[in-house]
């Protein structure tokens, strides 16, 4: 039974070909090693290995029934057949069964074209979607949340959303009822807004069909653009420039900043700005707050508050630790607040006539701009609408813009000017690194010889580093994904760790892997590290910029000298800082 420790590889045959793979590999991995893609639907590597959808079935010589390649381990001498008539017929029949319960309203489904079920049906020649037509259950939509809509009529019960939610240590969705009545919902079928969903949207990017989608707000934006009385301003978050291209078939990690700006102009926005400006501003305020807390014995460690998914998580799960959160608004909200104050004044526009749109990698941003204390100017929302990368891609598509053929254009000024420190906000560790660049120089008053804080980079769930700053030992930590946040927060709650400053992003890998980013099929997600591929382009962008420290940005210098005064000034507090609210797990 037991494979001895010495044997590290296994020899098998797949479709008659000899294959040697490391012991412990699955049939799926072994097949892939010789260039065979076995289709999957429920499988998410390391997250959802449940063998439930039965699409990846293959024949194994001597096995009693078909086996699931995604989870079945290879064994010495095994003979596998991945593409026999029986296998193909089985996959097709399973698809026909799934279709018999699926709302096949594909024509206008936002996932049409990116739907994994649709693609499989095409690949397996499912020509009669009603072959097993029968009784079905009609489910009500759950649109109780600000950021998403669940349509269980399109759910295929692959449980990828459940796994993604579990992987975030949130677990507010799961299977309810059993047998044919099984459906995914919150405990006791409550609406999502009555449980502790943090709006991260990881369920959305992992859904193979249109069962979970962001709440589409493009119509509001188009209406504003078409309203001559509105001055419509858009700003794009740091990570959008390295992900938007994927929606137009471009290679993962392509920097499309110039084309994106061009596309936004063609959509009719009056001004196209960069949320990176807001990110630089965040660093100024946050670094100042940190220095103040250290100097004045404030609550430490201080924890970043850029990620609204993370903030909501903290409010639900660690309400006692809210004093640790930086009072700084997120870059999106800072950008909106200064647009409706400083910029509006400069341009002589009534803030009521200004409509601010944020293009965000994030679904929680839709929740963030509806929060209290995010209405700095005359009670107006700092940001009127947050669109995800996906919604922007749909707007571009439906406007008939040939994205790939667009020229590169530059952002408008002054809120389109930013440093490399702001660009890396999109990757886990980026805010920490940007803050360190400014904080260290502020405290020591000396120029950093090297601005690369590489210890806090990378996709590892929890990262720690220790630096000596002006004679002070400073220990920092970075976590992405709320599962990892939990590890750090438990330490903080227990008074352990000895951290001064912590960066937390709600999504695993940070904004590049946010819940609002373009959807890649599980097949791609399972075998390519999206987080790394997208993040490395951000670090390249940082390296290529002349200015890489927020406090050196001319635009930042300008806003402080013209308008805000000093970081942490009264005005800065009015516009750029916020408050948090403890939230129950059920309400």
């Amino acid at each position: 039974m037991a494979i001895s420790e010495a044997v590290k590889t296994v020899n098998l045959k797949i479709n008659g070909m000899d294959v040697t793979v490391p012991a412990g590999s699955t049939i799926l991995e072994a097949a892939r090693s010789i260039g065979l893609e076995i289709p999957t639907l429920c499988y998410l590597k390391e997250i959802n290995e449940i063998g439930a959808c039965r699409i990846c079935v293959v024949e194994v010589k001597g096995a009693r029934s078909l086996v699931t390649a995604c989870v079945f381990p290879v064994a010495e001498g095994m003979e596998v057949f991945t593409n026999t008539e029986k296998v193909r017929r089985s996959r097709k029949l399973t698809l026909e069964l799934i279709l018999s319960t699926h709302d096949k309203n594909c024509l206008s489904c936002v996932r049409s074209g990116t739907c994994e079920l649709q693609q499989l049906c095409k690949e397996f020649g499912v020509d009669d979607p009603d072959y097993y037509k029968g009784e079905n259950i009609r489910y009500e939509f759950d649109d109780s949340m600000a950021h998403m809509v669940r349509d269980n009529n399109k759910c295929i019960l692959c449980r990828r959303c459940v796994a993604a939610c579990d992987n975030q240590c949130i677990s507010v969705i799961g299977a309810n009822a059993r047998g044919f009545d099984t459906h995914i919902s919150s405990p006791f079928d409550r609406d999502l807004d009555s449980v502790s969903c943090i709006s991260c949207g990881q369920c959305i990017v992992n859904c193979p069909t249109g069962a979970i989608v962001e709440k589409d707000e493009t119509a509001k934006v188009i209406a504003a653009i078409n309203d001559p009385s509105k001055f419509v301003v858009v700003h794009t978050a740091p990570s959008i420039r390295v992900t938007l291209g994927e929606a137009f078939g471009m290679k993962i990690g392509t920097n499309v900043q110039g084309k994106m700006v061009a596309a936004l102009r063609r959509l009719g926005f009056n001004k196209v700005f960069d949320t990176d400006f807001g990110a630089d501003l965040t660093i100024m305020e946050e670094a100042n707050e940190l220095v103040e807390r250290v100097k004045n014995g404030g609550v430490l460690p201080m924890i970043t508050s850029c990620s609204p998914g993370w903030v909501k998580y903290c409010e639900h799960y660690y309400p006692d630790l809210l004093p640790h959160l930086s009072s700084c608004k997120s870059p999106q909200q800072m950008q909106g607040a200064v647009l409706k104050s400083w910029y509006a004044q400069k341009m002589g526009i009534d803030p009521k006539d200004m409509f601010v749109v944020g293009i965000m990698p994030c679904t929680a941003k839709k929740f963030e701009n509806k929060r209290d204390h995010q209405h700095a100017v005359d009670g107006l929302p700092d940001v009127d609408v947050s669109l995800t990368t996906r919604e922007l891609a749909r707007m571009i598509e439906s406007a008939g813009i040939f994205f790939r053929d667009l020229p590169d254009e530059d952002y408008d000024n002054p809120l389109g000017e930013a440093t490399g420190a702001a660009v890396i906000f999109g990757a886990t560790g980026g805010v920490m690194e940007a803050a360190l660049r400014t904080a260290v120089e502020t405290i020591t008053g000396e120029q950093l010889p090297n601005v690369d804080f590489t210890q806090v980079r990378g996709t590892e769930g929890v990262k720690e580093a220790e630096y000596e700053v002006g004679g002070l030992q400073v220990k920092v930590a970075v976590a992405s994904g709320t599962k990892n946040a939990k590890i750090l927060m438990d330490k903080v709650r227990a008074g352990e760790g000895g951290y001064t400053f912590i960066e937390i992003m709600g999504c695993p890998g940070g904004c590049v892997n946010g819940g609002g980013q373009p959807i890649q099929h599980a097949v791609v997600r399972n075998f390519h590290d999206l987080r790394t591929l997208r993040a490395q382009t951000l670090y390249e962008a940082d390296r290529s910029l002349p200015l890489r420290k927020s406090h050196e940005s001319p635009a930042i210098k300008m806003i402080y000298s013209e308008f805000l005064g000093q970081p942490g000034s009264h005005k800065a507090h009015e516009l750029l800082h916020t408050e948090y609210t403890p939230r129950p797990k059920y309400n």
């Binding site: 039974m1 037991a2 290995e49 449940i50 063998g51 439930a52 959808c53 039965r54 079935v57 029934s65 078909l66 699931t68 989870v71 079945f72 381990p73 089985s90 029949l93 399973t94 069964l97 799934i98 018999s100 319960t101 097993y132 029968g134 009784e135 295929i156 019960l157 449980r159 799961g174 299977a175 009822a177 059993r178 047998g179 044919f180 009545d181 099984t182």
Partner: protein
């Protein structure tokens, strides 16, 4: 307690249990007091026995509640042990009968022959008495797993010890190595009684081969097949046998902790098990340093909330872990990665109940009966269209004919046998042509059914085989956990096709579609529940295809079960015009004048059957 002290206790307990011995009672009366006995009215019988004994001042007579004696339709049952005499079995007892048994049999030594089993079955000569063991129902049985059921008080550790209880554990702990225990089990040929039939010794050896560390023993007492109640009877009637076997398993596999996963719907089983565990722990037969040795082992009980799928081993473990009871893919098998991710040995109640005797008396004691590949005995819950319903334990290799015609007493009401169903919703129907098949794991699988956990349901000519297939499938559709597509959606779609057939709306293509889907679900489902769910349909299509075709082509249900395919008619020659049917018809579908033949308007008739039940002249037929 040490092994020596256990022997001393056994000898004294044995004496106390023997009527007429120095320390025993003058007579010992036992009342079948399992769930079934209580439901049939055992409580007033018990009270009456006690009251009558007290009234007559018979203080040296013991009255005890015991587990299931096995004959459902003869409950409540009382058995009387007196010194030097054969045990007398009284059936269909009432409070009044109980009082008479005490006053006549106990007080005056006169057996009340007309209340005994022989009188009830007609096997005893007029006024005579025959022992239970000589009735047709018992003659071919051999009680191994059920050996203590109905014999000892299940709530008494002492009673169990009197029957050599915990001697196997003592033997293993003091004179055997773990490997020896496994070898004896392997030699015995014991196979899993939960349905799969995997060799138990081999299963234990897999867990034993895992590196030392945390390991678990799990007892599957989530008996869920419709009509099956073997495991309940063992837990209610002899819980210590399972406790002892699990400790033996712990010793053999290197585990110190076990779980019994038992249905919450079995409250008496749970109570008896709880008491058995507590008593064993208090006596040093569970817990730290059992019988003064280095071996420690303890048990917990987890209650199942009533999901059939939790009888599947991985779903059961997922449920114990506190999650929704759903199966997980295998491999990894539980022996490698089971409960809480640790190596785990899981067996069902009946399997465990066989173990102590095998270890104590040796492999030959067990494998001297049975067939080549299926050794020992198997408990069946006999039900359906059969004279003697109840719990029977037969040697493997007994034919279905012996079980049905001899032990079961044949089909009541002069009806013709049609099929026997084994394996519950995972099995299939066996037609009359195969009734001489000797029952064992391999034979039943070969004819499209399976051993299953032991439900055996008999059908007669009035059963429609399409409807039976629909009935069993309806169960799995309801009990599917919903995790994998073939089972969740496929069984539902099969069900819809079967309904189409029973309603007369199907085509021959639908039969092909049904069969194709059935094989797909078998081949593609995640767990045993789904993989076997189509069996009742496939077996019936194989053995009774003509009935399916008749439903589809002729739109006829020959058994007269499928309502949509039958109509009620009045035979004019037989109708006396009494108007009884007309008066009872709820929808006024019957017309006719007094003393003239009546007519049923089939368009209005809702086929409730009230007219037929009312007619005294047999004038109403359905076809």
């Amino acid at each position: 307690m040490t092994a020596t002290e256990l022997n001393v206790l056994r000898d004294s307990a044995k004496a106390k249990l023997t009527a007429g011995s120095a320390s025993g009672p003058a007579a010992r009366i036992v009342v079948g007091y399992a769930t079934c006995g209580i439901a049939a009215g055992a409580k007033p019988v018990l009270e009456s026995l006690k009251k009558e004994l007290a009234d007559l001042g018979l203080t040296n007579v013991s009255v005890e509640e015991v587990g299931c004696i096995g004959m459902c339709q003869y409950e409540p049952i009382v058995e009387v042990y007196t010194p030097g005499a054969e045990k007398v079995t009284y059936v269909k007892m009432t409070a009044g009968r109980a009082a008479r048994v005490v006053s006549s049999h106990i007080a005056n030594g006169k057996v009340v022959a007309e209340y005994t089993i022989g009188a009830a079955t007609g096997e005893a000569p007029e006024g005579g008495v025959i022992p239970l063991s000589e009735t047709a129902f018992y003659k071919k049985q051999r009680r191994a797993a059920l050996r203590n059921c109905g014999v000892i008080n299940p709530e008494s550790l002492e009673d169990y010890i009197a029957m050599d209880g915990y001697q196997a554990l003592a033997k293993a702990l003091t004179s055997m190595q773990p490997g020896d225990v496994i070898q004896v089990l392997k030699d015995s040929g014991l196979r899993g009684r939960g349905g799969g039939g995997f060799p138990t010794g081999t299963k234990w050896s897999f867990t034993a081969a895992q590196p030392p560390g945390k390991k678990y023993v799990v007892c599957n007492a989530d008996e869920g097949d419709p009509g099956a109640f073997m495991d309940r009877s063992v837990l209610e009637g002899d819980p210590h046998s399972v406790v002892e076997a699990m400790a033996l398993c712990g010793f053999a596999t290197g585990s110190d902790e076990g779980y019994v996963y038992v249905r919450a719907e079995y409250p008496i089983a749970v109570l008896h098990l709880e008491k058995a565990i507590a008593d064993a722990r208090a006596a040093g037969l569970l817990g730290k340093n059992i019988l003064g040795t280095d071996f420690s082992f303890d048990l917990h009980i987890r209650l199942g909330a009533g999901a059939f799928v939790c009888g599947e081993e991985t779903a059961l473990m997922t449920s114990i872990e506190g999650n929704r009871g759903e199966p997980r893919p295998r491999p990894p098998y539980p022996a490698i990665k089971g409960l809480f991710g640790k190596p785990t040995t899981e067996n069902n109640v009946e399997t465990f109940a066989n173990v102590p005797q095998i270890i104590l008396r040796g492999a030959e004691h067990f494998n001297c009966v049975g067939t080549e590949k299926s050794k020992g005995t198997k408990v069946f819950a006999l039900g359906g269209k059969i004279t003697n319903t109840g719990l029977v334990e037969i040697p493997m290799g007994t034919t279905l004919r012996e079980i049905i015609e001899e032990i079961g007493g044949g089909i009541p009401n002069g009806k013709r046998f049609k099929a026997a169903q084994t394996g519950g919703p995972s099995g299939g129907c066996i037609p009359e042509a195969l009734i001489d098949t000797p029952v064992d794991y391999d034979n039943l699988s070969a004819i499209g059914s399976m051993m299953g956990s032991g439900g055996l349901i008999v059908m007669d000519e009035d059963n429609c085989m399409v409807d039976m297939a629909r009935f069993f499938l309806d169960f799995t559709v309801d009990e599917s956990c919903g995790k994998c597509n073939p089972c969740r959606i496929g069984t539902k779609r099969m069900m819809e096709l079967l309904e189409k057939i029973t309603e007369g709306n199907a085509t021959l293509e639908d039969l092909d579609k049904l069969e194709e889907l059935a094989y797909h679900i078998k081949e593609n489902s995640l767990c045993g529940l789904g993989q076997t769910a189509p069996n009742p349909v496939l077996a019936n299509m194989r053995h009774f295809r003509d009935e399916f075709v008749a439903h589809v082509v002729e739109k006829k249900c020959r058994a007269g079960v499928c309502k949509a395919l039958l109509n009620y008619y009045i035979i004019p020659e037989k109708c006396k015009g009494c108007t009884a049917c007309k008066r009872v018809c709820p929808v006024n579908a019957i017309t006719g004048n007094v003393k003239e033949p009546h007519v049923i308007n089939t368009d209005l008739c809702i086929k409730c059957g009230a007219c037929q039940a009312t007619c005294k002249f047999g004038a109403i037929i359905k076809q």
